[in-house]
């Protein structure tokens, strides 16, 4: 093995994490103002029948995952460490990454639906406007994936055959629960 086969993986990871962290409400026109378009752009790199495991619970299809992830409040993933092996004879990478993640605590969903029963304040008095995220403390996260070698040609193809997302640390002062 002479050259590094993992050179594009970091960009790939950042690319797919961005799809997990996107929200509909901030710019609906990006998604033709259509929630279903937005949903379909959550981790579209998953193969339709990928093996998906979230905190030990399995999901058997990409659309199921997209429905689930849609109901999670806005997130922010941050990559801390990763390593990867190209497995000979399989045409796939095994990627193991360590991340931190935080969740929006404003009580507003990705689609803009709010828990609040109060009327919107027309002009927020405080500089931190009410539409901005209020982030939870950071959670620890481990991510293991099997990804096709084809990511070396394009990131926007169905290439993830396994996606194992496991929270490793829950901060005591988080509103968000697992």
């Amino acid at each position: 093995m002479n050259s590094d086969p993992t050179s594009k993986i970091q960009d790939f990871l950042k690319h797919i994490l961005a799809t997990l962290d996107s929200t509909f409400i901030q710019n609906p026109s990006l998604f033709n103002n259509d929630i279903n378009v937005f949903k379909a752009r959550i981790l579209p790199q998953l193969k339709a029948q990928a093996a998906i495991v979230l905190n030990g619970t399995p999901y058997g299809s990409r659309t199921q995952f997209q429905d689930i992830w849609f109901s999670v409040p806005t997130t922010q993933h941050s990559l801390l460490s990763y390593d990867a092996h190209l497995i000979p004879g399989s045409g796939s990478y095994l990627i193991q990454a360590s991340l931190k993640i935080r969740f929006d605590e404003t009580g507003v969903s990705k689609s803009g639906e709010s828990c609040s029963l109060l009327p919107d304040v027309p002009v927020p008095r405080l500089p931190s406007a009410s539409t901005r995220s209020q982030w939870s403390p950071w959670f620890g996260l481990s991510l293991t994936m099997v990804v096709d070698e084809t990511i070396n040609t394009s990131f926007d193809i169905e290439c993830i055959s396994s996606f194992n997302w496991r929270i490793t640390y829950i901060p005591e002062k988080s509103v968000y629960e697992f």
Partner: protein, 598 residues
């Protein structure tokens, strides 16, 4: 509406106001006091015990109170009295052996505190316990700034003493491990620069109901230091503060609730949809510590892991038979993983040194040089053994402490194999067999790294050779600072509550979990909300203390929500028996709507 007039009233606290418990506080001023605790006395009355002790030991117990655990707390005049009394530990009283101890917890470090400090602490403790109702988990600090005992002892005499008093009180509350759902801080002259709330939030971050009624809060800014402090607050009462009474509009409400993400009720009005709050702040996928795609995967994974880790800890070189010429192994360290004390990096203890790992860590976010990347990847048995030997010797307690581990295992159809992911912790037990590799000597510089606990994630790709033998095709190990495992332990509890699975016993010799095939998506049972409905909605109603007490009793008995509880009480003319009877009869006839219950 005013609650001010009966500020120090409610919740059966009357008995303590100027009552017997403080009758001897005058004597505090004259002489120092020492605290003792007595257990196993409950077959007789408190007075019987005091007489017995006086008769038997000639020592007079003073300031005698019974705390919420049933322990007698009392003071004596001299250290010698305290010591003499402890010598009577085990004496028979009312058929039991008394357990007598000199209390060293009140001043934190035994007798180091001055007698004055010990006396003040004892006084605060008495006050705290007198304001605590364990049954309804209610801490009533209403109008404490005018509490006759605290005032007479000068605890609010200057800004300096009053600023120390509340933190001390909260520290005692932590030491006493008070279980509190509801806190009233009403009528305490709290203004915008007061810091009580922040201290309160640090002490009781999971409190559900809080009253700040009848204070002097003027601006929403007052709540800004509550961020991340009241993560479970459901109900807040701030009526009768300038913020609410002098506002031109009611927009302050939207700003206040931003600081309390789970707040449902503000001054008795619903401000958020409770169902939506419960849904949005709960991850939709239930957490399960073990996942195996099917029985075959489970069998292979558990068998592999138990044997592998056993050898990894005891005879690492014997594992080489599992690796083939194309097998790959590398490890990485993530020193920045979130942990309970992320600010603790200023003084990194030597035990957290990463020197054994640094020179070969393949954290690719930090290594961009292709040659370095490739040199840290071990391929084939020889390189893999060399890298194994660079890592400290370890101990994994997979079988003994299965709760500290999480496993996911699923198929890898590309090579007809399986993937096994393991998360958990290990303890370093000895330095690496061969800590220094050629070319990287400079990283160690002769320093010795001490051993410590680590957390880790490890993923194996296992394939099968021609004779069915297991081969590790790929092995990725990630090591991070040790954190107490809470991510799957906490949620395992939820899972048990939801589906009634049996927790595996510690010391179990086999890993057995229900496997769920990927093709059968998991069912998401609703986790029943077992938290008791807060009772403090009764706080802001116009009731006498007796009525409040009765309403609380009815609410606890019937599990009706506060609104219906009050309705029932009124219809029953505030007669407890009548209320309960009416409730039962209506309930049997199905006349009570589901939304009437908490």
């Amino acid at each position: 509406m005013s609650y001010r007039g009966r500020g120090r009233g409610g919740y059966g606290r009357n008995q303590f106001n100027g009552g017997n418990n403080y009758s001897s506080h005058q004597s505090f001023a004259a002489q120092p006091s020492f605290t003792v605790e007595i257990r196993n006395w409950n077959n007789a009355s408190k007075d019987d015990l005091v007489s017995f002790i006086a008769r038997k030991t000639r020592i007079k117990l003073q300031n005698v109170i019974v705390d919420h655990t049933g322990t007698i707390q009392a003071t004596v005049n001299t250290q010698k009295d305290a010591t003499d009394l402890v010598n009577w530990n085990g004496v028979k009283f009312a058929g039991q052996s008394l357990k007598i101890t000199a209390n060293t917890s009140t001043n934190g470090n035994g007798n180091a505190g001055s007698p004055d400090t010990a006396r003040t602490i004892q006084l605060l403790k008495q006050f705290l316990l007198s304001r605590y109702n364990a049954e309804i988990r209610f801490l009533d600090l209403t109008n404490m700034v005018n509490d006759p005992t605290l005032v007479s002892q000068g605890l609010f005499s200057s800004a300096s003493t009053s600023s120390k008093m509340f933190p001390a009180l909260m520290k005692l509350a932590s030491q006493e491990n008070l279980q509190v759902d509801t806190i009233s801080m009403a009528n305490n002259n709290i203004n915008d620069s007061n810091t009580y709330l922040s201290i309160l939030g640090s002490t009781f971050p999971r409190v559900k109901n809080l009253s700040l009624q009848d204070n002097n809060i003027q601006k929403v800014r007052f709540f800004e230091n509550c961020r991340h402090k009241f993560t479970r607050l459901r109900e807040l009462v701030i009526m009768n503060n300038p913020l609410t009474t002098q506002s031109m509009d009611r927009n302050y409400r939207s700003e206040v609730i931003r600081h309390f993400p789970r707040l449902i009720m503000l001054d008795g009005e619903y401000v958020r949809d409770e169902n939506k709050v419960s849904t949005i702040f709960k991850f939709p996928a239930p957490t399960v510590s073990m996942f195996f795609e099917n029985e075959t995967t489970q069998g292979v994974a558990t068998n592999f892991l138990t044997n592998y880790l056993k050898l990894w800890d005891s005879a690492r070189d014997q594992l080489l038979q599992l690796y083939a010429p194309e097998s790959q192994f590398s490890f990485q360290i993530d020193t920045a993983h979130p942990s309970p004390d992320p600010t603790g990096n200023s003084t990194v203890p030597s035990g957290n040194s990463w020197s054994y790992y640094l020179s070969n860590s393949r954290n690719l976010t930090r290594i961009s040089n292709e040659k370095s990347r490739m040199s840290r990847l071990a391929v084939g048995q020889e390189q893999i053994l060399r890298l194994f030997n660079c890592l400290p010797m370890t101990s994994h307690k997979l079988l003994e402490k299965i709760d500290q581990f999480a496993i996911e295992s699923w198929s890898f159809p590309q090579l007809n194999g399986i993937i096994v992911s393991l998360h958990g912790e290990f303890e370093e037990t000895a330095a690496p067999v061969q800590p220094v590799q050629s070319g990287v000597r400079s990283h160690y510089k002769g320093q010795r790294s001490s051993l410590s606990k680590r957390s880790f994630d490890r993923t194996f790709v296992i394939v099968f050779g021609p004779n069915g033998a297991m081969i590790v095709a790929s092995d990725l190990l990630l090591i991070r600072p040790h954190i107490p495992t809470n991510a799957w332990v906490v949620t395992k509890r939820n899972q048990e509550a939801a589906v009634g699975t049996t927790p595996s016993a510690a010391g179990s010799t086999e890993i057995s979990r229900t496997s769920t095939p990927l093709t059968h998506p998991a069912v998401h049972p609703e986790v029943p909300n077992t938290q008791p409905q807060p009772t403090s909605q009764l706080l802001n109603t116009n009731l006498t203390p007796q009525q409040q007490e009765l309403a609380h009793k009815v609410l606890m008995e019937t599990k009706l929500n506060p609104e219906f509880t009050l309705m029932l009480c009124e219809q029953s003319h505030w007669n407890y028996e009548a209320a309960i009877q009416a409730f039962r009869s209506s309930h049997q006839q199905g006349q009570i709507p589901p939304h009437a219950f908490t």
